[in-house]
């Protein structure tokens, strides 16, 4: 049963993650909550680990969720499933449907999908940031330490862009947030 759930869940992720790894995060959040596999807390830990280890982030997350729920078989199943749609779509595009992506109807659908994905990612990021500052939504208890970390990281991101003319890399951001966690909590 768990294998079927892993297969269906990650098939959804593989089929609907347009635009790179971060578009998969709201989808993975959907399925791990639906089946009660991981808390938001564990999911953010795994996103950090996936960013800081080599390889595609989506593959890393699939392997972890699969392993945590059903051992090595679950990990293999989730990983292969999340890669399957991308694999098949490319084979289709290069063999049978050479011009499918230039088709005007396909283009029209994509024109709606892309902005929608951006809105979904922004909302997920905004909500998760809010949630780490106010963990108990019910009684609005503010986690002051988290607010300090969010403020410090935002300052670091803006400062880095202003002075070094470069964006703060994801790995640097994660290292910085880990150090801040050690000092503030």
């Amino acid at each position: 049963m768990i294998y079927l759930q892993l297969f269906l869940g990650f098939l959804k992720v593989g089929l609907f993650s347009f635009g790179g790894a971060y578009s998969a995060i709201p989808l993975i959040r959907d399925i791990v909550q639906e089946y009660g596999w991981l808390s938001d807390e564990m999911l953010t830990h795994m996103i950090a680990i996936s960013e800081s280890t080599p390889g595609p982030i989506m593959i890393n997350l699939a392997t972890y969720v699969g392993a945590s729920q059903a051992g090595i078989l679950g990990a293999a199943l989730a990983t292969v499933t999340v890669a399957l749609p991308a694999f098949l779509v490319i084979l289709l595009v290069v063999t049978l449907l050479k011009n499918a992506l230039e088709n005007k109807y396909v283009q029209a659908v994509l024109k709606g999908l892309v902005p929608c994905v951006i809105g979904i990612i922004l909302a997920t990021g905004a909500y998760m940031t809010f949630q780490s500052c106010v963990p108990m939504a019910g009684d609005l208890a503010v986690d002051v330490s988290a607010v300090i970390i969010v403020a410090a990281l935002t300052a670091a991101m803006i400062g880095c862009k202003a002075w070094r003319k470069k964006k703060l890399s994801p790995i640097m951001l994660i290292v910085l947030s880990a150090l801040l966690g050690l000092f503030v909590y």
Binding site: S50, G119, L122, G181
Partner: protein, 194 residues
């Protein structure tokens, strides 16, 4: 036959190395794939590389898988596609599987737990900043802006009230609305021409 096997082995090893040494996800991987497969091995041309990138952006799934499948297929057909794709996946799989078995014990260390509390805030901000960057590069048309704004509000409401609606529903809706607008526009243009 021997030649083909050698090619498959070479594809597998090259993509295994790419998977093992590229940090930062699919887009970071694109430049490494270009360097290895186009500059060094001459498996695909620079133009083909650009073409795969465009396809990867408009198809679902990990970008690295799209590229590995395309290159593998170009070099050695479907078997090549399988070899390259497995090669790029395997390092991640091994590393994350090892981490998964150790993580729970690791998190029990008090210092690590504190660091991960900080990381939780960091990752949320990271998602937000990736979204902001995508927004900056987005098509500036009014339709795209309205769809992005609607999706943002809808997703926020879904999260706040814990509604049981998948983000997939929003994506299907956005695709359908965009197609409908296009079809109506198409018809109107057709009418004027006639």
């Amino acid at each position: 036959m021997g030649n083909k096997l050698k090619k498959l082995g070479e594809l597998f090893l090259t993509f295994f190395k790419i998977g093992l040494f590229t940090f930062g996800g699919g887009y970071a991987m694109l430049s490494v794939i270009e360097d290895n497969c186009s500059e060094k091995k001459k498996w695909i041309t620079h133009d083909e590389m650009m073409y795969v990138t465009v396809i990867a952006e408009s198809t679902p799934g990990p970008v690295a898988i799209n590229c590995a499948t395309f290159t593998g297929h170009r070099v050695a057909g479907v078997a090549g596609a399988v070899a390259a794709t497995l090669g790029v996946i395997l390092p991640s799989f091994i590393i994350i599987y090892a981490i998964a078995t150790l993580l729970d014990n690791f998190l029990e260390i008090a210092l690590v737990a504190k660091a991960f509390k900080g990381i939780k805030a960091g990752v949320s901000l990271l998602i937000l900043s990736v979204g902001t960057n995508m927004l900056k590069k987005m098509d500036r048309g009014i339709r795209a802006r309205i769809i992005a704004a609607c999706a943002f509000c809808a997703m926020l409401l879904i999260n706040i009230f814990s509604w049981n609606i998948s983000s997939i529903v929003l994506m299907l809706l956005a695709g359908a609305v965009s197609l409908a607008i296009f079809l109506i526009g198409d018809k109107r243009k057709g009418g004027e021409a006639a």
